[in-house]
């Protein structure tokens, strides 16, 4: 007992041991392992970026340069393809249409999924497990199966070629996904919070909006990200349910196949522009994702 700062409580012992262990570890850990880790990560990122770099490279080249030979960097830097896309309404309306139905779908899905997920996370009721499984089966319904009936259905109710039609159709897989993700987050909130709020005289709607939703805000952020993702990338339903007024960018892009072959430059530029909204969305939710979430029913 020479050291006057000897720990006295078990907790303190543990902390000191951890600190000492940490010091030892930091010294002992070979720097090479750190570098191997970074190297692997860098290799994967290069793999992810290579095809995108190629797309970007091509979008700044003129068509003669693209077909003339392989150049790793645009020799003859041009923004003609972007200028064309951003000035011709047939092109840029595609983006506006896509974003419109994606945003509509996000609103509809989250609005109906929030109460449903709350019910699944807090109550038992007749058929709850089977209902939950049935919801999941909708995630896997191949759109190809539903194409024709959808076309007929929306044509009959007069929604064909509107943004609402696509937004509703994407609900098929987005609502179940939203319920699934939100339910995991809601199960993480202790039930005592609900009970205390009700004792304090909150009505259910008021409690839900004022207390509960702020508590799971990062869950909502993550859910919105996934909703955006799956609605934005889907094209089979979107292009079947629309013709001209609500045509998504994905099907506008097929225009690039002209009589004189494919307009590679325009295709590459249009492709590049479809990546941008996604990057914006990830940027907004990055902190929620980095904060961590463990999904699923527990």
């Amino acid at each position: 007992m020479t050291d006057s700062s000897s720990p006295t409580t078990p907790d303190a012992v543990r902390q000191q041991a951890a600190a000492a262990d940490n010091r030892r570890r930091r010294k002992a850990r070979p720097a090479s392992r750190q570098w191997r880790r970074r190297g692997l990560m860098a290799a994967y990122i290069v793999f992810v970026l290579l095809p995108i770099y190629w797309l970007l490279n091509m979008s700044f080249q003129s068509n003669t340069e693209i077909l003339g030979g392989l150049t790793l960097w645009p020799d003859d830097f041009t923004i003609e393809h972007y200028a064309k896309i951003l000035t011709e309404s047939s092109w840029y309306m595609g983006y506006i249409n896509s974003i419109t139905y994606v945003v509509m779908n996000m609103f509809i899905s989250i609005a109906v999924a929030l109460p449903a997920a709350y019910a699944f996370s807090r109550y038992q009721f007749i058929g709850d497990k089977h209902l939950f499984f049935w919801l999941l089966t909708n995630l896997m319904a191949p759109p190809a199966v539903f194409l024709l009936p959808y076309f007929q259905l929306y044509y009959t109710v007069g929604l064909f070629d509107t943004h609402v039609a696509v937004a509703l159709a994407h609900c098929l897989f987005n609502i179940p996904l939203a319920v699934w993700i939100l339910e995991g987050f809601m199960s993480g909130v202790p039930k005592e919070i609900d009970e205390t709020a009700f004792i304090d005289g909150y009505s259910f709607p008021k409690f839900f909006v004022k207390i509960f939703i702020p508590m799971i805000s990062s869950g909502i952020g993550v859910t919105l990200f996934f909703l955006f993702m799956f609605s934005w990338v889907e094209l089979l339903l979107a292009s079947t349910l629309t013709s001209t007024n609500a045509q998504p960018i994905a099907s506008v892009m097929t225009q690039t196949k002209g009589a004189s072959g494919i307009d590679w430059g325009a295709l590459a530029a249009a492709g590049t522009l479809t990546i941008l909204p996604g990057i914006v969305v990830v940027y907004f939710v990055r902190n929620h994702i980095a904060k961590g979430f463990a999904l699923g029913r527990t």
């Binding site: 990122i45 992810v48 995108i52 109550y123 995630l139 194409l147 996604g278 980095a290 527990t298």
Partner: protein, 292 residues
């Protein structure tokens, strides 16, 4: 969490149920109706009974498409799940690098599926694509329009590129939700890296992995746009997967009856696989909870 038994919860479910039922049940009923008839239009149609079903079940083309489909789905799962977990483990955890890597890794997920096809089409072409050109310069006669092996390898590579981020993203989030105290305890116990992974990280990842694997299985089973753009199903029919056979039949040839029958068979297969998987996982979790 012990839940309260209350059937009034159905009122909270109702709006969602109506919306999903509108998008799911009405079309499904229509598909069932199509499948027992030869439909020319709403007024000209003949009842055929189970004829389409037996025809589709005995169609060799569809049988081989189904086998290809399973081979494809299992291959990509076997590559993407371990790779995704690995990436999640080495992703930086703090600072600007964490955000930057997160955004870069997630990028492929947010590209429309046919654009993914286009990107890889551009990337792998022998004349103007970086990968195709490089492979040829290295002396390998890479050609996805004539060699089935090249076409398969390219589609799998594309799928790995496209979807590994989903597994990585989910696992990364799962890992971030583990409190630091767990790692500290492991450090005190001098736990090896492997046992940290096996006993701390992997159990926390089960839930996200269930979601990840289910989503990946379902999506890989209905893959359509990417191979359609990249290879058009060729060479021959070596990369024609189920969705594409189905769409060609339904839209291209207007054979509503057979394609509906085929859709239902397809649906039953996925339903069975998913149910088995889901039940197995749920039971595993129940057993774990009992032990805990």
């Amino acid at each position: 969490m012990n839940k309260v038994y209350n059937n009034r919860a159905w009122w909270l479910i109702l709006p969602m149920l109506l919306l999903v039922a509108f998008s799911a049940i009405i079309p499904l009923m229509t598909v069932v109706n199509y499948s027992v008839q030869d439909v020319f239009d709403a007024h000209t149609r003949f009842f055929t009974g189970t004829e389409w079903f037996s025809e589709m079940l005995n169609n060799p083309e569809l049988q081989s498409a189904l086998l290809r489909q399973f081979a494809f789905s299992l291959t990509v799962l076997a590559i993407e799940v371990p790779l995704g977990i690995g990436i999640a483990l080495i992703m930086p955890k703090k600072g600007w690098q964490a955000s930057a890597v997160l955004i870069l890794v997630t990028m492929p997920l947010l590209i429309p599926w046919n654009v993914v096809g286009s990107i890889w089409q551009i990337f792998t072409r022998g004349d103007i694509g970086l990968m195709g050109w490089s492979l040829r310069e290295l002396g390998y006669g890479y050609n996805i329009t004539s060699s089935p092996v090249d076409a398969w390898a390219t589609i799998i590579l594309m799928d790995v590129w496209h979807w590994t981020p989903l597994i990585a993203l989910l696992c990364y989030s799962g890992l971030r939700s583990i409190p630091d105290a767990y790692y500290q305890a492991a450090r005190i116990d001098r736990a090896s890296k492997w046992s940290v992974f096996r006993y701390i990280q992997l159990p926390k990842l089960t839930n996200v992995l269930v979601i990840g694997v289910l989503l990946r299985f379902m999506h890989s089973f209905m893959i359509y746009a990417e191979p359609f753009v990249l290879t058009g199903g060729g060479p021959g029919s070596s990369t024609t997967f189920l969705s594409q056979s189905l769409t060609t039949m339904a839209i291209g040839q207007q054979d509503l009856g057979p394609s509906a029958a085929f859709s239902l068979i397809y649906f039953l297969i996925i339903l069975l696989v998913t149910w088995v998987f889901y039940t197995a996982i749920m039971n595993m979790q129940k057993d774990n909870n009992k032990e805990a």
